[in-house]
Symmetry: C2
Subunit: 127 residues, 2 copies
Amino acid sequence: MVTKQLLKGLPEDADLRRADSLAREIFSDIANKWALLIIEALGERTLRFSELRNEVEGVSHKMLTQNLRMLERNGLVDRKVHPTVPPRVEYTLTEPGRALRTAVDVMCEWTHQHLGHIEGARGRFEG
Amino acid sequence: MVTKQLLKGLPEDADLRRADSLAREIFSDIANKWALLIIEALGERTLRFSELRNEVEGVSHKMLTQNLRMLERNGLVDRKVHPTVPPRVEYTLTEPGRALRTAVDVMCEWTHQHLGHIEGARGRFEG
DNA sequence: CGGCATCCGCATGGATACTG
DNA sequence: CAGTATCCATGCGGATGCCG
């Protein structure tokens, strides 16, 4: 069980407790719709703020900014500001960000592969 | 690009548009903290409601019920009611649920592997 | 263009209580 | 024990406006 501490949250000593609380915090940060969609949209590319806004269907200006700050703060994306006019800001996944992307890829793939099963399940569930 | 439609949302015909909208809906359902933690907690085991409540640190009665209903509706968990008194309700991941769990595992593993990097990034970000 | 602040409606989610 | 319903606070998230 890889994630014992993350899940059980009952570490015995102070260091473990700190690490686990940090892990929970990070997991809560990234386990949200917009963050995952942003990571997936970036992929291997470098995108500007406005390009990202187009790629991530339905995201608002505010949510995009907010999540990008969070991802930058956690070292998942790199933010490069070009001091031109008009301003040009580019976002790129860092190495850890790209590592996480493989997990997001799996989730997206899973979603597409199970569309049929889920539709069936919903029908059976009574909707 | 595995997830073109999920990400871009610009399908040309009606069927693709329907499938994509369904995919987005499902992705939004599962890309949330509690759903992912519940899936991870279940793993290969079968757990009762109250056991699950203990395993998933910090989840409220209401959130657990709500997310379990959602996961059941989408066919990710199987809900078995034993008509005893007191009642006994057991939850188990279905095959698709277990498939998704591998992705969640990767996310959890990623979190632990990058704790150090993230702490460093936060320091650099000024906090 | 990108970022930040403000306002504010509404859904989210906690607490509580009641049923089978 | 598990589920549902109700109440209620708060915080998420959209809209708008201004600034570098």
